[in-house]
Amino acid sequence: MFNIYQIKAYPSHLQFLFEDQVTLRVHSVFKQTVNLTDGNRIYTLQHSDLPSTPLSIKIEISRKAFENLTPIIGQEIKFNPKGCVAFGSVFEIKDAVVHECEMKMAHVPIHAELTILYDELTKQLFDHNGKGEMVKAAHNVITESKSSLSVFGEHMERVINDLMISTSPLEIVHQALKLIGVGEGLTPSGDDFNCGFAAALFYLKGIRSADEIRQIHQLELPKLWNTTTTISREYLMYAHEGKFNEWVIRLFDYCQKGKDIVPTLNEIKTIGHSSGSDFLTGMYFGLRAGGKLT
């Protein structure tokens, strides 16, 4: 017989999936996520241990049980107002939480809260507290050290160095975008960097220097997102709209409320292999450029 699972949460912009009969197909399958597509956009089914993202339909299912689902690439998944049926299981929508992914800050960040976040990120980079070439490259730049890097890491190091010394908003964005599609992983590190960079700029909304950079980044990013992978492009598209995963939203919320941000930073670092660290590195340089911090 079929297992019945509850859909725990999904973002409000995916409500349309449950309003009519919508058919998606399995695009790609990973241990912790199953990506679905309508031929244009990507939607992700995931277990409940992962944070909600703008793509994700989060299921109340253990990690182990999720791994035992049997999706087949190309398989049709039909959504309806009650949920969806997929891989021999029923996913019911009835108690699902519909959440917002859009970053809406209560106020323009004040210097004190901004400094706490920036200092914590600086400390982590100084301590080389993170995974992957991007963190290593950033560590090299800000500590002026010379850890050996791959050809991709060397490129990142050069770009980050140029970004740090750039002063004009156009040049800063130009450097950040040089990282699109660069690096390891299914979502290349440079893309995660740009998502983090955008998140920082959305957080700094209302600060003139940041707004300028954000507007240029928003204008230029769409020109490049087709040069990277389909799944990575999806995250970039949401970042472009100011939509991020729940841990990122919480991080900025805690910043504004003066709560301890370290546990959330550590949670973000656990995303993917190096994606979380790449994201935080991008966020660091976004804060630095937009907040004119040194």
């Binding site: 017989m1 399958v29 241990k31 182990k64 050809v151 490129h155 599609g181 992983g185 290349p188 040069t227």
Partner: protein, 508 residues
């Protein structure tokens, strides 16, 4: 310096896997540089610049492709790297696709496979309960194919199953379709929004096949085992299955096919169904439609009627089963007196018996519920007779006639030799589990029968329970029968009606 490039089109591996591939290659002695990257524009550019991706190769790589570049100082090192890479991919693909594995015990399967949720138990009855219980206790729903499981054992299994919200289908459950997967004797039908529960194997097959033929499809088809709706078991699986279908978002309409439940079970079904917001259609073969009065259930007399009602509700149409054509009405039996129905499907035999009884009065059978019409010797037909060749008497020590048609073939020859036989009524059940060419076996028996036929004009009528998608292909099976002079009707009910008409004309 030797360079080797590989591209895997639209290959989605997680980041950790890609990094493991990369690091494995980079540890090989003689490999100067290796990268396993997604083929984004910037990554390709960097790989080209560092000399691990040729310009020609780069032009064929797209963003969603995985591109591998290996630069080695010797051909030997490059060969070793290529071999290592292939092994890595092979291992990963195996892990992703999941190979079939076999275990000698339920315990071993549970220990080595996480989150098993379904088991089919097909063991001799005396071992079946223990193994079925092990499966239930490990959280699995069970299709219990075995017969010869006692009522006490059935209740013990079903009590545990109900308490833990698991389905125990059976014992003696031969048909189910779960999430589009046909189990046991089942047909290849379209997926759709009609969910079925049945205490009857071929009844379930006939219903799914007619629904498919009318253009609709099945969400789930669940068997309960024949005794489930009797007082001794109390409808435990029937009720749980109905509840599951009521919650199944893919099911919009629910159908029940069964012999009449006991009054107390019927009462439970009616009470449960009254809480559903989905329409329920039921065919309790042999029960008066009065039992559905003042209930939410839409009652039908035959499986065919139930299938039409389900499709009509599901698609908001008003389809009706076909009535006899003028050609069919012109068929006359000029010799012989009686009907002889030889069935492999028990419910099909029962449905035919009910239809024929209306027209012909008494029908003798080895499955007659009225003692008066129960054949004393199933080997010998008496007046109008319908035989369920799948009944225990015939299957004791023999495969079911849907699998091995030899016994029925012998009986066909015997009935054709009988001068009293006027109409021979047959079923031909296709699908998984069934004989690979049941029509072929019937035709062979008919040709043999004709050699010793004493009555020159026996009317042969059959229906094929199957779909075009079945391994035996319905149209090919029907054609074989027609070529042998058999009148092929669209459903079992219509075949029975034609037989009744032909014999009725005779009486008239």
């Amino acid at each position: 310096m030797k360079i080797h490039n590989v591209v895997k089109a639209n290959a989605y591996f997680d980041s950790v896997t890609l990094m493991l591939f990369s690091s494995k290659l980079n540890t090989i002695e003689g490999v100067q540089q290796a990268a396993v990257m997604m083929g984004t524009d910037h990554n390709k550019e960097l790989m080209k610049n560092s000399g691990i991706l040729t310009v020609e190769f780069a032009s064929s790589v797209k963003s969603n492709d995985l591109v591998i570049g290996i630069k080695a100082v010797t051909q030997e090192a490059l060969d070793l790297a290529i071999k290592t890479l292939e092994e890595q991919f092979e291992n990963k693909t195996k892990a992703v696709s999941g190979e079939k594995v076999s275990f000698k015990t339920v315990e071993a399967a549970v220990k080595n496979t996480a989150d098993l949720n379904f088991a089919i138990v097909s063991l001799p009855g005396r071992f079946a309960k223990t193994e079925a219980m092990k499966c239930l206790k490990n959280g699995m729903n069970v299709l219990l194919f075995s017969d010869n499981v006692s009522i006490e054992e059935e209740n013990e299994l079903k009590d545990y199953a109900v308490e833990h919200q698991l389905l125990l289908m059976g014992p003696d459950c031969g048909t189910a379709i779960i999430n589009g997967v046909a189990l046991g004797f089942a047909n290849v039908v379209k997926k759709g929004n009609i969910g079925l529960v049945a205490a009857s194997g071929t009844g379930l097959q006939e219903a799914t096949v007619i629904i498919d033929k009318l253009g609709s499809g099945i969400s789930q088809a669940l068997g309960t085992g024949g005794r489930d709706v009797k007082d001794a078991v109390g409808g435990k699986t029937m009720l749980l299955a109905l509840e599951a279908l009521s919650k199944d978002p893919q099911t919009n309409v629910i159908g029940i096919v069964s012999k009449p439940p006991s009054p107390s079970v019927l009462n439970k079904i009616v009470n449960l169904v009254s809480t559903f917001d989905k329409p329920v259609v039921a065919c309790f073969l042999g029960a008066s439609l009065d039992v559905f009065a003042d209930t939410k259930i839409i009652g039908c007399e035959t499986v065919e009627d139930a299938a039409y009602a389900l499709v009509n509700i599901s698609t908001q149409q008003s389809l009706k089963p076909g009535s006899l054509t003028d050609d069919e009405k012109s068929i006359r039996s000029t010799s012989g007196k009686y009907l002889r129905g030889l069935y492999t499907g028990g419910t099909l035999a029962y449905e035919a018996m009910l239809i024929l009884k209306h027209q012909l009065g008494s029908i003798y059978s080895n499955i007659a519920s009225d003692e008066q019409y129960l054949l004393k010797d199933p080997e010998l037909s008496h007046q109008h007779t319908i035989i369920d060749m799948g009944e225990d008497y015939f299957t004791d020590g023999m495969p079911h006639p849907m699998i091995d048609p030899r016994l029925r073939s012998e009986r066909i020859k015997k009935e054709m030799k009988d001068a009293d036989t006027a109409v021979l009524l047959l079923d031909c059940v296709l699908g998984y589990g069934s004989h690979s060419d049941p029509a072929g076996a019937l035709v062979e028996a008919i040709i043999e029968g004709r050699k010793t036929q004493t009555n020159e004009n026996i009317i042969l009528i059959a229906s094929v329970c199957g779909t075009e998608a079945d391994p035996q292909r319905r149209s090919a099976q029907e054609e074989q029968l027609r070529q042998a002079g058999v009148i092929v009707m669209p459903t079992n009910a219509q075949a029975a009606r034609l037989a009744a008409y032909v014999l009725g004309q005779k009486g008239a």
